[in-house]
Symmetry: D2
Subunit: 343 residues, 4 copies
Amino acid sequence: MIRFESDYTQGAVREIIDALVKTNMEMTPGYGKDEYCLSAERKIKAALENDEVDVHFLVGGTQTNLTFIASAIKPYQGVICADSGHINVHECGSIEACGTKLLQIPSADGKITAREIYRIVSDHIEDVNREHAVQPGMVYISFPTENGTLYSKNELKDIYYVCRKFGLILYIDGARLGYGLASEENDLQMKDLPYLCDAFYIGGTKVGALFGEALVIVNDSCKKDFRYMEKQKGAMLAKGRLLGLQFDALFTDGLYLDISRHAVELAIRIRDAFTRRGIKLFYDSPTNQQFPILTKDQVDTLSKDFAFSPWCKFGNDFVVRFCTSWATDENDVDVLIKAIESL
Amino acid sequence: MIRFESDYTQGAVREIIDALVKTNMEMTPGYGKDEYCLSAERKIKAALENDEVDVHFLVGGTQTNLTFIASAIKPYQGVICADSGHINVHECGSIEACGTKLLQIPSADGKITAREIYRIVSDHIEDVNREHAVQPGMVYISFPTENGTLYSKNELKDIYYVCRKFGLILYIDGARLGYGLASEENDLQMKDLPYLCDAFYIGGTKVGALFGEALVIVNDSCKKDFRYMEKQKGAMLAKGRLLGLQFDALFTDGLYLDISRHAVELAIRIRDAFTRRGIKLFYDSPTNQQFPILTKDQVDTLSKDFAFSPWCKFGNDFVVRFCTSWATDENDVDVLIKAIESL
Amino acid sequence: MIRFESDYTQGAVREIIDALVKTNMEMTPGYGKDEYCLSAERKIKAALENDEVDVHFLVGGTQTNLTFIASAIKPYQGVICADSGHINVHECGSIEACGTKLLQIPSADGKITAREIYRIVSDHIEDVNREHAVQPGMVYISFPTENGTLYSKNELKDIYYVCRKFGLILYIDGARLGYGLASEENDLQMKDLPYLCDAFYIGGTKVGALFGEALVIVNDSCKKDFRYMEKQKGAMLAKGRLLGLQFDALFTDGLYLDISRHAVELAIRIRDAFTRRGIKLFYDSPTNQQFPILTKDQVDTLSKDFAFSPWCKFGNDFVVRFCTSWATDENDVDVLIKAIESL
Amino acid sequence: MIRFESDYTQGAVREIIDALVKTNMEMTPGYGKDEYCLSAERKIKAALENDEVDVHFLVGGTQTNLTFIASAIKPYQGVICADSGHINVHECGSIEACGTKLLQIPSADGKITAREIYRIVSDHIEDVNREHAVQPGMVYISFPTENGTLYSKNELKDIYYVCRKFGLILYIDGARLGYGLASEENDLQMKDLPYLCDAFYIGGTKVGALFGEALVIVNDSCKKDFRYMEKQKGAMLAKGRLLGLQFDALFTDGLYLDISRHAVELAIRIRDAFTRRGIKLFYDSPTNQQFPILTKDQVDTLSKDFAFSPWCKFGNDFVVRFCTSWATDENDVDVLIKAIESL
């Protein structure tokens, strides 16, 4: 069985494992105040070419999302997001559990537009009874989206323009950030991000680390006292060093983008194999997740040797998901492509 | 500088590091549904001689406390605890952030008694306006306490008797559970715990693991749907395998208690050195944390070569904390003891 | 200016004002433990022909909704509702502020169906990763809906069947309950309600009272300790007598339904006038709210002498709302009908 | 039976009842945007000699406390209060239910001091691990306290000085404000309050109104978007007019202070009767609540003809509470005094 069902089935890049082994018996202060965290922070700032941002290391994505959102929003405000957004469908109500309503925009491909955001906010402002409704206070988007799609630089600029015009915080969930930046169709660089949003996180769990996300806060108004929120939400790792040394490794010699490129190249090879075979893709994804539309027979045939995820039905056919990751073996992809070709 | 300031300054036992290295490129399902978690669960149940409990693996202590408490308490109920309890003073209001009031009992040594709990609950029940006050719904105790002290088996029995009589959940924070069980003064065995409370956690972060706590739920009424709560609170690790293999290692061949015993023995040697030198201890701790009362001069002298934590003032003197752990080096303790003797 | 913009612009029925004046200097215990509350409770139980329900008096609708929902749902559960439901759009996130996600069903007329509820719940149960999503725990419907529409007895039976099958609580927001029961098209009686849901409230604020809603809890599992929740949410009126005497008056000699009938009859006369004039209604409402689709000119003409509420745009036309209430003057309706006829 | 057990057993002053009757069928906009609310607001500003404050009308005290505190505090901050403070003991955890921890100061008489506040805040700031503890963000005091005691102008000045120095919000619970201002021992005027705190409320429920509290927000940073919070917490009365006309009446021709003076004078006569009889008072209260320490026999004797509240035990004796209010009848007090004299 060759597994393509998710991008978090394996451990970490060798550099991280080596660092863990090597530093195991060192004594360091707890809670992210150690030299490894400081070093990782410096390297991330260097990659962003920006010294003004704040960097915090958290363990997982849901935790990062809920901690940042809870820290940056007022109790009567809501978060605009795609109805397919991870915080809306796959975090078990974690944002609402902190008291915040999500203001969902129906989305076919996981993206939302500046125009849609503008409409929600301006409708709210013009409503004479607006105090009876939740006030839009933040916009949440994913890059890449949960469907593998990407925002262009211009799309992000437009969204951020609307956000700043109305005083909304723009927050980008970068659980798979590397796989977006490494895509051929992407026109963003990592160093652009601080100019395009108020905060974002650099996903580690799905991109080379055992676990860990690096939250980057750009907007000064969101920086103050964030560590209190981390502690309160159970998101401050006692042995913070473990997070620091992972991001230190990922941000040494461009490793983060190198391993991301590996995953995306293999995903595109899989996509192309499906396309050549005449199989359509449900989303137009240029990143590490691919969503072919298969017949029941095709699903059954491929299931014999490969693991992949069900996604949704499409008429009588089935949309499924194949993921690659930093750890995917080229030979496994070759075997899969052969299987696709002989469907 | 030899460091005794906390019990989470170093990585993990060799067995864990070896397992991490060895399993790194294995592909496993996420979120705690892998073979390593299952194996660890089996071993914990075996150690408890109890097949009926539920076992969940979470990353840290604050996270475990808030997730369990939020799952087991009703919104108008409160948690009785010592005023020195970790949830009351060192978790940044995490329990209140979930909507729950803590009903604090002043405590000189970190412990609370069955009698004190009985009084709070019976006073509440007798109050004709009780609906204006928070209803006691749970009791939280730490074993060992934050002050290093221990409950005897009889004390726990009495507390649990009062809890069951009034329908309160009894939850034990075992962040340092191993260091309690390994103490010479302790009369509990691990397998007694399911008979003495409704839920407890076996601390890993401070006892040999890189991170991780094993929550054991005994009371059936607290078991249902706990995984939803884990997910909602950001407490479900994507690569759950990492938690499973750590507890699998700790619960193989009695490792957990062996390393705990090592820490406690060294702590008692340090305590005895202070006592021989005529220096009093602030708490009567038979576990891995020791709290000598030092003069300003003694603090200054020891600070030259050793790191330890400030605790509180005591008249003109200073209470400080020395911790040992599974990782403490005997030679370092020898050096410290010499220094104490020549104070 | 004759006002039809809402059903809460005026005070209370004469019987209530008289009772307030008459009892003003009586000394009664606080918090709903007085004779007037007891009497009102007895009369409501008599009207329901049901002695087993619990009755609580709260001040307003948002308060009643949030207090009951917060008391009856688990933290990882959500509430299924129409996207147009009052709790979703006009209570400023009050339910989410208590930690609970709303699971919205798109609705054209304010109603949702048993089939839609069934699909949401069964999809959730069949999802292997269901713990990553909010678990459906309650269904909220309004009777009449915010659009003036009604559920038939059979529709309610089907919804309640699905709810009981899956263990969901069914809660009915009866802010305008009287105006639903008094409708010619309604086939429910008040005494049917305890057989058709787990809890509902009898709206007073919009139906004859100065303020006040009577929450009726049918399901035993939702009854325990509700008064704690009332107090915690600031929903327990100190001088509870004020609520008791209002519902006592409304439930004496059938007053509640009599005044409701008055409002609905006048609303239907207004509806018929629009229809005769060839003006379409946006919703097919048989209750006290009517939603004609007017041209800009018609809006301008009617605005000279009448107040009514904007609702939404419909192409180039405008949907507006006319409300009647227990207090609406027949002569005012006559004048409005003349104006409609000469549009 | 003559009743002295609380100050909210009766309705409202005649002027309020008259206004209710007179305005009953007037049509006014909802939610506090009517002429009566505007008029009441103007009169309160005039009484405060301050045009810059914001005034909001809410139904009850618990509601006012939780809505204001939730709007003004950050999620990782706590509220310093006396352990006897109403929010700590008699609001069923309403503040914690909004996510906020109370930082309690033990108090013998219901008051806390600037020095105690200073110590808590400065200890927090000096703690190197302060992010593990809740950050003090607000101070809550009651005027008069729940024990009938008063802060002097200088005490309030000192407290507010510490608050401003450290950026804490000072909020005063004025459930019985009138009875404090009307006391002979009080050296504050109502117009001083905006200079002595960031927000306070003028209690109506216990001082002449059927229900209602007027929240006065002084600090600009707490004013924005407060109405959203009111709506979210179920604290925005649909027929807001009812609150407006009550405060309009209370703030016409000095009525609020006049009726308060009546209550306090009678309370002092009762206190003096106890003192003359050699009976000690548990708190030194110069306001409308009196707390004599009675023997069992005395309690039994007085209970035959008078209702009063149990408070606490004191050795073998009993502390009880006698309340007067705006509605207390002088003749009833005369009868009580005779009874005290013949104990």
